[in-house]
């Protein structure tokens, strides 16, 4: 395992003394070595862990976690999605062309030009080096989620390596900026963009918990009671693995460039893995890998003169503990729950919450309105092994709302019609599927392959055609793998 200390530029002499001396020297080396280690390679995906679309849908942001600590930093990439999809569309035609050297069975592999110098020897294979990487910046390690701000101009990443929030400014063209040297080829985020402003919190004896594992963001006005005066800025919510939630405000004041920590709340369970926000109830929901239920918390903004014209004192916004919803009607034979992801139905006229569960492996369809202190599970839809991430999207043309479930252990993605509880498709042969982004207008899904360090492009058109009834006898209805972004990495078993 290449670690920073291994590449110490100072000549560290081998000790001839006892173990204590060895230990002391090792510790000295660890602390004394002035090195940055190996910088992340330009344009290369390395254990990508989070992904999201730009507001206009033309840019795909991918956060690299640097999970194996091979490099000294993680990285955030932005990709030209229009061009990537065009390449994927062209790929089958290229395969069919006998004069073309692309020989794979219809799956196209695209690598950014930035890798051409290092990986040029792959050109004879079915690989295309293309100018698809719009920008990249170096971040901390262990990004565990990513959220785009309400105006689409700022990305928020819970960075477990920094135990803090990293934020990166962006624009419609995919440019990335985070306080570093923007003239550099591979900008390195400044420390100011890798931490939040905790001055307000310190006054209230509040500190930011470590191990952030989930993030959501939205307009701060969404948190305000109905009728109160509008407020500017965005809210950002974190879940922390140890059982806490944190609330930040960003952009509410021009003279404060960094998000400000407003409040934290602990005692919300253990081994949290995801957070989502239920607009209808105004409560945050937390998924836990150990709790037989879902912890919830509320956000209360102090409003002077409640009602019309009242204005909020954002600085006094609090988090409060709401009732934990305990599972009812679920086989938890192992004695504990294991919810890995949460989603609220995106349709305004449908009140359902979806919970991705591992014991058993099932997508749980629940009714938030019917919940008192218990989660009444309306339907359990079995999915593959090791379900990890969940995305629920509505396809207006087909009149369907579909859940996309990545199953890390069975290496596939399951697509479920949430209204009928019916399986409508499976995408197989994925190394380690994790985050999923569904691109409804393009009828595509992008799947992060954590193990292979690639992004898989999936064509949903065959499946959607079948759902529309626009098919012929014998047509395949499953989503089709089109190709991948990035060079698949041959990793050792992650065990």
């Amino acid at each position: 395992m290449p670690l920073a200390a291994d590449r110490c530029p100072v000549r560290c002499r081998s000790p001839h003394g006892g173990a204590l001396v060895v230990g002391l020297l090792a510790m000295t080396a660890l602390f004394a070595c002035e090195t940055d280690g190996q910088s992340p390679p330009s344009g290369q995906l390395f254990f990508p862990s989070a992904m999201t679309l730009s507001a206009n849908g033309d840019v795909l942001y991918v956060a690299n976690s640097n999970f194996d600590l091979r490099f000294n930093r993680g990285a955030l990439h932005s990709y030209d999605l229009t061009r990537l999809n065009a390449l994927m569309d062209a790929c089958p035609r290229l395969v069919d062309d006998p004069t073309n050297r692309i020989t794979s069975a219809g799956e196209c592999q695209v690598l950014p030009l930035e890798l051409e110098d290092r990986l040029g020897e792959l050109r004879q294979e079915d690989v295309r080096f293309e100018d698809v990487l719009l920008d990249q910046v170096q971040t901390g390690s262990f990004a565990d989620g990513m959220a785009l701000g309400p105006e689409g101009r700022r990305l928020y990443l819970p960075m477990r390596g920094d135990a803090n929030l990293t934020f990166v400014d962006t624009d419609e063209s995919g440019g990335l900026s985070c306080g570093g040297d923007e003239s550099a080829d591979f900008e390195r985020c400044s420390a100011d963009f890798a931490r939040v402003d905790e001055s307000l919190a310190r006054e209230r004896d509040v500190t930011l918990p470590n191990d952030p594992v989930g993030v959501i963001a939205g307009p701060f006005a969404d948190l305000m009671p109905p009728g109160s005066a509008p407020v500017d800025g965005a809210y950002v919510l974190f879940a922390h693995r140890g059982g806490s939630a944190s609330l930040f405000v960003d952009g509410d004041q021009d003279d404060r460039p960094s998000p400000r920590l407003l409040a934290t709340l602990g005692g919300l369970g253990s081994l949290l893995v995801d957070v989502t926000f239920d607009d209808a109830s105004g409560l945050g929901w937390l998924a836990s890998a150990t709790t037989v239920g879902v912890a919830r918390f509320g956000i209360a903004a102090e409003v002077i003169e409640a009602g019309a014209g009242g204005f909020a004192q954002i600085e006094r916004t609090q988090l409060y503990r709401s009732r934990t919803l305990v599972f009812e009607d679920l086989d938890t034979s192992r004695g504990f729950g294991d919810v890995r992801a949460l989603a609220i139905d995106p349709r305004p006229d449908v009140r359902r919450a979806y919970l991705l569960n591992r014991t058993p492996n099932a997508l749980l369809v629940t009714d938030p309105e019917a919940m008192d202190d218990r989660i009444r599970v309306l339907r359990r839809v079995p999915v593959g092994l090791g379900p990890s991430k969940l995305t629920v999207e509505t396809f207006p043309t087909e009149g369907r709302t579909l859940a996309f479930v990545s199953c890390f252990d069975s290496q596939d993605v399951w697509v479920v019609d949430v209204d009928l509880g019916a399986l409508v498709g499976i995408v197989r042969n994925l190394g380690g599927p994790f985050e999923i982004v569904v691109d409804v207008p393009r009828q595509r899904a992008y799947v992060l392959d954590f193990v292979a360090s690639t992004v898989r492009f999936v064509d949903l058109a065959p499946m959607l055609a079948c759902l529309r009834g626009d098919l012929m006898t014998g047509d395949e209805c499953s989503p089709q793998l089109l190709g991948l972004l990035g060079r698949p990495a041959a990793r050792d078993e992650l065990n």
Binding site: M1, L3, A4, A5, L30, E34, T35, D36, G37, L69, S141, F142, G161, D205, P225, G298, E302, V303, I304, E305, A306, Q313, R316, Q318, L319, Y320, R321, S322, R323, E328, D329, L330, D331, T359, P360, N361, A362, A370, D372, R376, V377, L378, R380, P382, G384, D409, S410, Q411, L420, A422, L423, V424, I426, M463, G469, L471, T473, C477, S478, N495
Partner: protein
């Protein structure tokens, strides 16, 4: 930056060693998300005269597999010479395939041994239903070729119907290829049914038809089948087959109204009666339990559609008794997942053989349903016992009696699509006024009255019929009387495997079908040799039962008609011992307790015998008062200052205080019997034994009463705490609203403060202010809430200033390690509204002023407008009564303007109905009642300072009834249940475990897992 290497090293180590300790091993599954099942009867040898060398096995009509021999627990075949085996077809929904299991050998068939793993037949993406057609050959059996058999598979994702030879799923044919045919449907099919035309004339083009349920189209699609089993051709159709579409109708509102449960005179009809308390030679009908109230169930029957467009999800072909009504005898019932009904169609054909679906009045279930199961006709009551076993007699008059008094009932079971509960519909007689009525079957607290009291939501249902054949006026494939002919049995005849007529129902001479000799004779039945079945018991299912596959991964049994009922109920095999005596034949008292079986139709089957002692408290209650705590004695005494009074409204008893009514000198000698009566449907479970000196009778003085019905009893701990916390009222966003310009303290003492907290639904949680109670009691002075002065609000929050910076004066407001505070601001609730409480101070002005000072925001000297606090609601001068399962009961709802209102109109209290006492506040010295328990906490004049001290009563009720259920190993998500009566085996599909569980019914247990 220097810290990075250390952190990186730690993380790397964690990653390396943490991951290494628990590698994920993925074993390729035999099945992948198994779903629909279908059974196939396979002729193993050459029973049809096929050449001995012909190794081709034959798919034959399923009636040949009647009597498919079960295996013993030691896996020995009971009838080794049997020529037929059953194959099980299993849809692989994740792979678009159908696999086959040889149930005789428990082996999964591999269609291509050259390929690693199991190769199954590809059918279509997302197969949801399988139907097998195996018709008799038209020629004489001796010369018949191998009969034709076709399998039809409906696939949701590919919206297709495929038909192919059944033999392609069998091991003898390994060539995979295209199906014999495939056609697209109007949408993804959810279910498929086959309707055979047994009466089709020779040469008729249409020999039967398939019906596919298409949810997204809101329609049924009907595909006529020809003599070759293939769909009839239609050149105009894109797929070249004939098809008919039947859009499901949307009935008007009148058709969705519940069918009233009234008798001929219009009086409410209670369809389910008392439970039975059974001993081997004794049937004891108990009516000391509240029976489900038909009228109440009807009142709760709110019509709940999930949309406006029909969505058929399940199909059931139902054969009614021919001639019993004017309706078509063969019908198709359709579960609708959106509309609150079950559609019904009469099945028939036009003159040219074209299938006809004639819409019949639907069954108004009140809710959408997603799965159906129909019982056979069963006698309306549990049989009585007599001393004589009647000889089998096929004479109908002897069976039914001259007046044909047998009353049979039939039930439709359906899973409520809104919550997974199971409802029961009366489908006994289409001509009856109650046909289609949803039956009230449950009185368990917290459950809908018209739902089975299952342990959890149901995912699948199956009706299990064991040792029962319900003849329908048709030939029975057996010679019962030895005359060489197959018998024709009258409607509703029950016979066992040996041909003995077991029970024909109520009112006939032959009804006396049980005697003790017969009960014991079961052990000698050669058909049962080697089976685990012992004495009739809760896990041996003989009769008709509903099995529900639950979301908890369990399979639970519901009693419908237990043919062994009268053989159960005592561990004494000697019939001279009566259950209720407990003495042997020498008159000596036996040490073992008497035990009874409890059986009631549509109640969860109880998995053990119950002794009367099991119904009493397992341990003495505990009372605490301040720092004093003690177990309560049987005479109600415990701690100084409090006791458990007698549960009796007699003023003379009330005046006794903590003294025992049977104690000398209490002025109650002789003891009036009225003192010893619990509220109706309850019995004492704790109290001393007293003697009436006039009659010399002994009885228990009721200190704690509880329901005695094991079906209604909940095992839980009850806790009554003086001024305790009302569950669910803790809120984190309370703020004080007061008139502008006034100080908080002044406004509080002027009654002008309203505490608003939108995070708490105060009405939903049952919060009552003084005015709320007064409004209710003005209308109903006898309401249990009367006499109560309202709840209290407590601010339960630390001040904003960090504790380290707090002044000594404010230190009292900070919580200690246990969460307790030396001082808290409490307020009396005057009026409770949803999210808003009008309050007056319950503490002195000094506390309020100190609160306002200490809770000011950092850097400020007064409470800020809109400032947020955590708060909780406590009872005022009352005990808050909570059960660990039941919780806090109340009948408070949100009224006009958000005012919290006692729901007198819809939740009236009925003195004779304990379930109506939804009250969670016990007043001192008043009888407290709820659906489970009744008690009275009484102050002792000798005690001092009661009002200033916390006091608490705690006791535990045990639930003596253990449900009969099976809980397989591992987490399970059941996607289907199929019962094979020929083998007396139930097959449960565990989609999470990628396996099929095979269960026996004698005993009801997992026999093996096929995976």
């Amino acid at each position: 930056m220097r810290r990075l290497p250390v952190f990186a090293l730690a993380l790397a180590c964690a990653a390396l060693f943490g991951c290494r300790s628990d590698p994920v091993l993925v074993v390729p599954a035999t099945f992948e998300r198994p779903g629909a099942l279908a059974f196939v009867c396979v002729r193993e040898t050459n029973a049809f005269g096929v050449d001995e060398d012909d190794e081709v096995q034959a798919i034959v009509p399923f009636e040949n597999c009647r009597g498919f021999p079960a295996r013993t627990d030691t896996d020995e075949r009971i009838e080794p010479s049997f020529d037929y085996v059953v194959d099980l077809l299993v849809a692989q929904t994740a792979r678009g395939e159908v696999g086959t299991v040889d149930l005789d050998r428990g082996a999964v068939l591999d269609l291509d041994a050259r390929v690693p793993g199991f190769t199954f037949r590809r059918v279509g993406e997302g197969p949801t239903a399988i139907v097998v057609r195996a018709r008799k050959p038209p020629e004489a059996l001796a010369t018949a070729p191998v009969p034709r058999s076709t399998t039809y598979v409906a696939s949701f994702a590919s919206r297709s119907l495929a038909w192919l030879p059944t033999r392609e799923f069998n091991r003898q044919l390994v060539t995979a290829g295209d199906a014999e045919g495939e056609a697209l449907l109007a949408g993804g099919p959810a279910a498929l049914a086959l309707v055979e035309r047994d009466d089709a004339p020779e040469g008729e083009a249409v020999t039967g038809f398939l019906v596919a349920a298409i949810p997204e189209a809101g329609a049924l699609e009907v595909v006529p089948l020809g003599a070759d089993d293939a769909p009839l051709a239609d050149a105009a159709d894109a797929d070249g087959i004939q098809r008919l579409r039947f859009p499901l109708p949307v009935p008007d509102a009148a058709a969705l109204e519940p069918v009233p449960l009234v008798d001929a005179l219009g009086e409410p009809l209670v369809r389910t009666g008392a439970y039975r308390r059974l001993c081997r030679d004794q049937v004891d009908a108990r009516d000391d339990v509240r029976t489900p109230d038909a009228a109440q169930a009807q009142a709760e029957a709110e019509v709940v559609p999930l949309g406006a467009t029909p969505a058929p999800l399940d199909l059931e072909v139902v054969d009614l008794d021919p001639g019993s009504s004017a309706e078509p005898p063969r019908q198709l019932w359709v579960a609708d997942g959106v509309l609150p009904l079950v559609h019904r169609y009469g099945l028939g054909v036009e003159a040219d053989g074209t299938p006809r679906l004639d819409a019949l009045p639907p069954l108004p279930t009140g809710v959408p349903v997603r799965s159906l199961a129909v019982s056979p006709p069963v006698p309306s009551t549990i049989p009585e016992t007599t001393d004589a076993l009647p000889e089998p007699d096929l004479d109908e008059a002897a069976l039914y009696g001259a007046d044909d008094e047998v009353v049979f009932e039939r039930f439709l079971y359906a899973i409520d699509a809104t919550d997974g509960s199971v409802l029961v519909v009366d489908v006994s007689d289409p001509g009856s006024a109650t046909f289609g009525a949803v039956l009230p079957v449950t009185t368990e607290e917290g459950e809908p009255a018209a739902r089975l009291a299952l342990r959890a939501a149901a995912d699948a249902l199956a009706v299990v019929t064991n040792d029962v054949l319900v003849a329908n006026g048709e030939d029975f494939a057996g010679d019962l009387d030895g005359d060489g002919d197959l018998e024709t049995l009258p409607r509703g005849t029950f016979i066992d495997r040996a041909g003995a007529i077991l029970d024909v129902g109520e009112g006939s001479d032959a009804n006396a079908a049980f005697d003790l000799n017969w009960c014991d004779s079961r052990l000698d039945d050669p058909r049962r040799v080697g089976l685990a079945a012992d004495l009739p018991g809760p896990t041996n299912l003989r009769g008709v039962f509903l099995v529900a596959a639950l979301a908890t991964g369990e399979l639970q049994i519901v009693d419908v008609h237990d043919l062994d009922a009268t053989c159960r109920g005592s561990f004494f095999r000697d019939e001279t011992l009566r259950c209720d005596v407990g003495r042997d034949d020498q008159g000596n008292e036996v040490s073992e307790r008497d035990s009874f079986a409890y059986v009631a139709r549509h109640r969860p089957r109880i998995g053990g015998l119950i002794s009367t002692e099991d119904l009493n408290l397992p341990a003495s209650p505990a009372l605490t008062l301040g720092t004093s705590a003690a177990s309560v004695n049987e005479d109600g005494s415990g701690v100084l200052g409090l006791c458990l009074g007698v549960v009796n409204p007699d003023p003379a008893v009330e005046a006794l205080g903590c003294a025992s009514p049977s104690a000398p000198g209490m002025g109650l000698d002789p003891l009036p019997l009225s003192v010893l009566s619990c509220p109706r449907f309850m019995a004492p479970v704790f109290g001393e034994t007293a003697t009436n000196t006039d009659t010399n009778q002994q009885a228990v003085v009721p200190r704690i009463c509880a329901t005695l019905s094991p079906f209604d009893r909940r095992g839980e701990t009850w806790r009554a705490e003086w001024q305790g916390l009302i569950p669910g009222t803790g809120g984190g966003a309370a703020r004080f609203d007061r008139p502008e310009g006034t100080s908080f303290v002044d406004a509080l003492f002027a009654g002008q403060v309203v505490v608003r907290d939108e995070s708490v639904s105060h009405c939903t949680r049952g919060v009552l202010g003084r005015e709320n109670v007064e409004v209710a009691c003005a209308e109903d002075p006898a309401a249990p809430e009367c006499g109560y002065g309202g709840d209290r609000l407590r601010i339960a929050d630390d001040p904003p200033t960090p504790r380290a910076d707090a002044s000594a004066r404010c230190e009292v407001f900070y919580a200690d390690r246990d969460g307790d505070r030396a001082l808290e601001l409490e307020m009396n609730i005057v009026r409770s509204e949803q999210g808003a409480l009008t309050v007056t101070p319950a503490t002195g002005r000094d506390v309020a002023e100190r609160f306002a000072e200490c809770y000011a925001p950092i850097g400020e000297d007064a409470l800020a407008p809109g400032q947020l606090f955590e708060s909780v609601v406590l009872t005022g001068d009352a005990y808050v009564v909570t059960g660990t399962l039941t919780g806090f009961l109340h009948r408070v709802v949100e009224g006009p303007g958000g005012l919290c209102t006692v729901d007198l109109a819809n939740q009236p209290v009925d003195e004779n109905d304990p379930t109506t006492f939804r009250n969670g506040r016990a007043l001192l010295n008043a009888i407290y009642r709820n659906p489970q328990v009744a008690f009275r906490i009484t102050p002792d004049p000798l005690g001092e300072g009661l009002g200033d001290q916390s006091s608490r009563l705690t006791f535990t009720l045990q639930d003596p009834a253990t449900d009969a259920f099976v809980n397989p190993d591992g987490t399970a998500v059941f996607s289907g249940l199929s019962y094979l009566p020929e083998a007396r085996r139930l097959y449960a599909v565990d989609a999470n475990g990628d396996r099929i569980l095979e269960l026996s019914v004698e005993p009801f247990a997992t026999r093996r897992a096929i995976d």
